[in-house]
């Protein structure tokens, strides 16, 4: 197979993969009656973008859903880094009794999918009256054993001289973590951040369990609510809502494609 033939195959496959996006955007621009005639033109005969997107923006608190998503992902990421970086450093560079046990616990934690502790966590949050809050959305994900593992592996490869030099300068271990190790850990931190944000922005399982109504709905829940409760048969408006909710992360991906791909490839481990 020559280069041109392979390019043609890839081009066809790429079109096939893009079909859901292409049709989603196309449908979001069409008036409902045109959608129901189910003809196959991608370009609408009459543009109804203002009606469709207008309906979504009027009826759906889009900004609030996006804001909820940002707060949830941001909160989770900050705590994950706050917990995982010092622990990863201690496991990689410090000698202490029980280190093997701690690392064993991390490896054990890697085996357990987040769905397993979900039931008791739900009962606990429900008992504390904390359902339907940012606390419920954020707290259960603040510990990432995968993050600890990733940072430990990364810090292992940092030269010991760097840390010795900082100690001779009189820095404490905590200062070393944030002022010496962290500035050298950006590649790992970026990869982990992308992995974490993609996973939690798209997650449906946990937000579906702990929140009801619109106040704390994430973008994923927002689309689900609109689909089941309001959109009904109005596929055009539903597709418009989907375009709006999908856009932020997809745009971020297109702007920083290389980092995303590398981030997911290096962190692919946890899936």
């Amino acid at each position: 197979m020559g280069n041109a033939a392979r390019l043609a195959v890839l081009g066809l496959l790429a079109l096939l993969f893009m079909a859901p996006y292409i049709w989603m955007i196309s449908a979001s621009l069409k008036p409902t009656d045109e959608l129901f005639r189910a003809h196959m033109a991608l370009i609408p005969e009459r543009f109804a973008a203002i009606e469709n997107y207008g309906r979504v923006l009027r009826e759906v608190p889009v900004a609030q859903y996006l804001w909820n998503g940002v707060v949830m992902c941001g909160g989770i990421l900050v705590f994950q880094l706050l917990f995982a970086i010092p622990a990863g450093y201690a496991l990689a560079k410090l000698r202490f009794a029980g280190r093997d046990w701690v690392f064993g616990a991390v490896m054990l934690g890697l085996l357990v999918p987040a769905h397993v502790p979900a039931l008791p966590l739900y009962v606990a949050f429900s008992g504390m009256g904390l359902l339907n809050s940012f606390a419920a959305l954020i707290i259960p994900s603040t510990i990432s054993v995968f993050g600890i593992f990733l940072f430990r592996q990364f810090f292992k490869s940092l030269p010991d001289e760097l840390i010795h030099a900082a100690r001779i300068d009189g820095m404490g271990e905590a200062a070393i973590v944030w002022r010496v190790v962290l500035p050298n850990a950006w590649p790992a931190a970026t990869a982990f951040a992308i992995f974490s944000v993609v996973a939690h922005w798209n997650d449906l399982f946990w937000p579906l369990i702990v929140t009801t109504g619109q106040a704390y709905a994430t973008p994923a829940l927002g689309v689900l609510h609109f689909r089941t409760e309001e959109a009904g048969d109005d596929f055009a408006a539903l597709m418009a809502a989907c375009v709006i909710m999908t856009a932020p992360l997809v745009l971020a991906f297109l702007l920083a494609q290389r980092r995303f791909v590398e981030g997911i490839a290096t962190t692919g481990l946890k899936g």
Binding site: N3, L10, A14, F17, A19, P20, Y21, M24, A27, L35, A38, H39, M40, F83, P86, A87, A90, L94, R95, F96, A97, R99, V102, M107, G109, L111, V112, P113, H115, V116, P117, A118, L119, P120, I139, T142, K156, E173, A174, N202, L204, F205, P219, A220, V223, L224, R227, F235, M239, A241, M245, T246, L249, V250, A252, L254, F260, V261, I264, G271
Partner: protein, 296 residues
């Protein structure tokens, strides 16, 4: 003396640095996981405190519960379709993209796009694409004279449709992992094979690339199996297990038993079955990889 104090200081610092993560680990991961295991052997229902220890009753009920059996079989069928096809597709795409001279970044981006897209929204888009009357897929089939099925609302096709969406979602992820594996293979090896007589691309793949890609492939296979066992979003958005349980899968059954019927004990027992499947898959991986990976 000095050295001993330094070492004690180091140990103290290490414990202080691990403390926040350790506490969070105990409270948010270890304790609830153990609690979930304990719940699986109880009759706990939300609002019905205290729970009673009922031994293996939940598992006995599961064994005779037709709904659970359907759910387990559906999950296995889904995994058996999605995992192999998304691994093979990911490998094929990675090899194809590696072999062309232009547009690599563009193609990689396109195939990877579903991985970063909001699953719920894309599921809704698939619902439109596969809609029996207004969907473009059936419109195209009609254009060539075929009456397309009701993809997501017929019990014959619903699992296949969900599997197709699952493959679409995960092929790009596997492709990226394979591409990382391919760049680790030195180019000279393939060229040397060509010099030694492996002229056909297929021979070079069979003799050089495939064996060296072994660890990557095993890793991708296990990741794909685990990811597909966890199927939930598309089912929750598109079918809610229906029609007539034809798309009921493990995590969705666990979700409805636990959070709709509030039978937390039974739901925990299903979670345990899920956990055992995931652990078994990981065990297979470590057994096969044992001598190749070192977390030194």
């Amino acid at each position: 003396m000095r050295d001993a104090r330094g070492r004690r200081g180091e140990a103290l610092a290490a414990w202080l640095l691990t403390l926040p993560a350790g506490l969070a680990f105990l409270l948010l991961l270890l304790a609830p996981t153990l609690a979930a295991i304990a719940l699986a052997f109880s009759d706990y229902e939300l609002g019905n405190w205290p729970p009673h220890w009922i031994g293996f009753d939940n598992f006995r009920e599961m064994w005779t519960d037709r709904g659970f059996r359907i759910s387990l079989v559906n999950t296995l069928v889904y995994v058996a379709i999605v995992a192999p096809l998304s691994v093979a597709g990911g490998l094929a795409l990675a090899l194809l993209i590696e072999s062309v001279t232009t547009g690599r970044t563009l193609f990689r981006a396109i195939f990877f796009l579903p991985v970063v897209s909001l699953t719920v929204a894309m599921a809704a888009s698939w619902q439109y694409l596969l809609h029996p009357t207004i969907g473009p897929v059936n419109a195209m089939l009609r254009a060539v004279g075929i009456a397309g099925p009701a993809w997501l609302s017929s019990s014959d096709t619903v699992l296949l449709s969900l599997a197709a969406i699952g493959i679409w979602e995960s092929v790009g992820f596997n492709m990226v992992l394979f591409m990382a594996g391919l760049t680790a293979i030195p180019r000279e090896l393939r060229e040397a094979a060509a010099v030694d007589g492996a002229q056909a691309a297929w021979d070079r793949f069979r003799l050089v690339t495939w064996p060296l890609l072994g660890p990557t492939t095993l890793f991708v296979v296990v990741i794909s199996l685990i990811r597909s066992v966890r199927v939930f979003d598309t089912v929750a958005v598109l079918t809610r297990g229906g029609p007539n349980k034809a798309s009921e899968v493990l995590l969705y059954t666990m979700y409805t038993e636990g959070f709709t019927f509030l039978r937390l004990g039974y739901s925990a027992a299903i979670t345990l079955v899920f956990l055992v499947i995931v652990l078994a898959l990981m065990l297979v991986q470590t057994r096969l990889l044992d001598r190749r990976v070192h977390y030194g």
